[in-house]
Symmetry: D2
């Protein structure tokens, strides 16, 4: 495929919350894109979304990928289905935007790194959408431009107001900390080499055996330290902050997220974004628009399969770090 | 035209800074829209933009409006051309998005109000894009929801870093204050009945005879007061703020406009948006996307011809108020 | 009296809320000062405060001023008593700190200006304590140092959460706006030449016939404009802000007044200072400490009798401006 | 000594930067206090300060403590002199305000704990002045009042713009981190049980072998985690922040420390306090005023000898943690 003039025809695999959100965005806000195929193991859900976006349902995900009218694929199925589906996209030579995680274990993730290398061009983009958030992008630009001098420390904060009980400490690492893994790699432009998890007093709303909050500490190749507070049952709102401390200054994003500043009833302040859509809606839209433009050229424009693999590897180590309380080394395989 | 399935085919009239900005947005970021005709009195500019967006040039603006492949029209020509062009759109029954001002005098603006009324459905949308800015929309919602109680006062601030010398006090009213005219009418949902201009000490960078800054004071039908500081040569950045004071609280937008908060060299803070594109880019995009969706249904979705007429009438009074320093009454004609 | 080595012995006249506050501050927090005499028309109140601060009660205010053990006088009696009491202090050659207003009419205020001139050295300090507030002082320094270029506009905001019903519009001018009169004169270092009051929609909690809020507009000798929003029944908290717009930048104080920034229950923000003590407690302490040090040298260190007279004159004009809605000129008599 | 009516007569030991600062504050801003004796190993400095505050010089520190006209003692000598001087104060039964550290090793600190216990009443107050800072006090109140629910995490940040080269990593722990040791103990009201130091990439302005910045991690008796970023060569300003994360909300102090918010030259923001005096001046004054009042009653009002001992013990462990990179346990002796 080269320099497609017409709309990119997309198959959306998995139309749960995230996939349906993407399908709607492609259908209503993404210039140059069209959803032509919808797939989900839940037939009713697939039919409903397909009707809404003007697509047809294909029941088998691999058949959906290989459907002749499909130019590119968006994967929002459960993580355990990703390995096979991404392989199929690579086999078909179709650009794919795959939600995190790339796969559910390090081996299968690395296999995809190798498979893409065999294809010879980037086809797999990972859904680390924070890279497309205007604030993270501005922070990255500030670092790159030297505005903070050499970056020395990164402090991350990720707080959810509430989560279901299955969000135990290991899940917190795989589902939430994974974002900060990519943020750290993106901002510092180097790999993470170890993970330690500081397990303190848990909030009373956490299930027995779940450490919440935790402080996760990363070290990077050059020896930089990244701290990440992960709290998922704060009862407050969706708070995501990042501060970078460099040799000549520090910079922070995400502190004040309200559209309107009010003074009422003895207090000034504003609303914290209630959820990820309010906080990162623009980032998702930008991610899709840029992916569509790149996919029309047969390539990607964003984090790739290696970023997906590295995140999986760090999170694997993170899970061990949760369980042991010790510092766990991360050893990445060779980058093709 | 009813419920158009295909892309809306648009003629863009006037591709100076604003029109070219819109043409590019329609071509690259607006789902469901296509620029098919470009018109500008500067042939070279028209050709350049047309080539970029994949449209053809039509030299005569009325011919561009009436071209059979054109579904809707975006007017970004100089204000003095608007009356005739909007009339032509109404005659052709084609939805139009017209940049401010609606026309350059009150009579011709009211004539358009009557002409649209004769057509029998809303076809003319005015480019008061602040209504589509997320902050203004949230402020309006807060007022409407009763979050501030009955609104009593509105304080507006509009500061430009620099303008050309032809930006004299009258021009400041017609080009800048006009935005606050619409903001006040939008937030308070009533008409402005008088204008007073407080003319103080001018900045040394203002040309002889130009009051800059000025404080403009509006009164509304119910007697509310709106203050507006207009400064266009501050040397600082593009600062647009609005505060509403209600019976039970106050709310402010536009104070802190930076993506990143830095601490460097003894100071904390952030960048002020340098210009209107950085500040209101999202508002323009949202305006276009919603107008396109409405135009496909043969109607508009935003401020209409009456809002354009009212703004012209208030600005006429404002210009007299600049010249006299007295309070000048605004008397609107009957709303059809 | 010259260069007093021992504690300054002070008579406090009037120990209502403000006077008792000062007496306690002198007794517990002001180095080098001692309250030796307390006077109040309410005998019980006088006795209570005198006992607390270790002073004796003197029933007649003039006798209190003239008591031989009294070095200096703090006047916090009702405004109508000030003229005679300040005259007595001048006659006795004793430094005095007089709470605003200097007197209740322009003539008697000017008489004090002349009386002090006859004495030949500054003895009368006015209680415009905002000049001693760290924020106002820093703002003044910023202006003086040229950090904003030539100041062009001043915007003031004064909001009280609630007041008794006798706080009508005239009282709002005399009791609240008087602070902004001094702030404007202090920051701009020139006199006010006219006052206009914009009377809009009143809050429903204002008594019949009271305009609340009002916008007061001052012009100064050099033609600068000062706006002042005065709202005294906001139900919110004690909010006092000032913004100065200069040729090269603007500066604001008083926006965020909280010690702790919290994120709870979906919102970030902080407490607004509930009342004037929380907001200006430091200013009162600093005012007293510096006045005591100056009084030991037989002089004052702060706004003087001319500042008191000018404020009375502007407020007289302000009251007429409230009643007429017109711009009212202020013509000060000659400065000795 | 019981309920002293006259001024408290104080000996100030050590009038380097800190001691001279205190001597001046006692002489000019602290009600009820008088400096009567000044001692310093540098005779000239002692003479200069003594002359300024109206005291006499006593050359021997122990003689200064035991001088009959001395009611109480302020110790601002180098840490290695503290043990003997505090013992002398205890022996003389005179209240003492001792700058940190209590002593330079754990054993001698604990000896003072025992010595005071033998006296039978609190006489030794430690100069952890942050407890008297209005922001820290408000944060403590917020925690105590349950406004954040059970506190789970504390995040501290301490940044200096520049320090001399002898500020190596061990010194950073003993001189700077010691403040956060007390802050954590004060806010959480429990002891620290272990220290770990994360040593990352050092700023290029740090001498060879000095880790700067460092992340220090404390665990407390109940298992809570406290993180502390300590950076002493940022080139920015004096930045001290604390955030507490509780079960129902979080709270932060120290983020925005400017008196005036400016908009100039494309940026909004304010000045960060340049040094500790600008940031904590009020805290020092309040500390002194409350200590003087307590000392007049023969006791203290603030952190005591146990707090001094605990801080020394934690910092000893911290120094080991710097050297090893391992988690080091803190085992406090019995509290009398």
């Amino acid at each position: 495929m080269s320099d497609l003039q017409r709309d990119l025809r997309i198959a959306v695999l998995g139309v749960g919350m995230m996939g349906a959100f993407h399908a709607d965005a492609l259908a209503t806000r993404t210039k140059g894109a069209r959803v032509v195929v919808v797939n989900d193991f839940a037939a009713e859900k697939a039919a409903e979304v397909a009707a809404r976006v003007g697509a047809r349902v294909v029941e088998d995900p691999i058949a959906a990928i290989n459907a002749p009218e499909v130019d590119a694929v968006l994967i929002a199925t459960p993580g355990k289905a990703h390995a096979e589906q991404v392989q199929a996209c690579l086999a078909a030579g179709k650009p794919v935007l795959c939600e995190k995680p790339l796969t559910t274990d390090e081996e299968s993730s690395y296999a995809l790194v190798q498979a893409e290398a065999a294809v010879g061009r980037p086809l797999v983009q990972l859904g680390f959408m924070r890279r497309f958030d205007a604030e993270y992008a501005a922070l990255k630009d500030l670092i790159t431009s030297g505005g903070l001098g050499n970056p020395l420390l990164v402090h991350c904060t990720h707080r959810n107001p509430a989560v279901p009980d299955f969000f135990n400490s290991e899940f917190m690492v795989r589902d939430s900390v994974v974002h900060e893994v990519d943020v750290a790699r993106f901002l510092l432009d180097e790999e993470i080499t170890s993970v330690q998890v500081l397990r303190g007093v848990a909030t009373s709303s956490a299930p027995e055996g779940t450490w919440d909050p935790m402080i996760v500490v990363f070290e990077t190749e050059s020896g930089r330290i990244v701290t990440d507070e992960i709290s998922v049952r704060t009862g407050v709102a969706y708070e995501v902050r990042t501060e970078v401390v460099g040799e000549t200054g520090s910079a922070m994003i995400g502190l004040d997220q309200s559209l309107v500043r009010t003074s009422t009833d003895g207090r000034w302040g504003g609303q914290i974004t209630p959820g990820f859509v309010e906080r990162f809606g623009q980032a998702y839209d930008t991610e899709l628009q840029r992916w569509v433009a790149a996919a029309k050229q047969g390539t990607i424009d964003g984090p790739g399969v290696w970023d997906g693999y590295a995140a999986v590897a760090v999170c694997e180590a993170g899970v061990k770090a949760v369980q042991t309380g010790e510092k766990v080394a991360v050893a990445l395989k060779a980058k093709p």
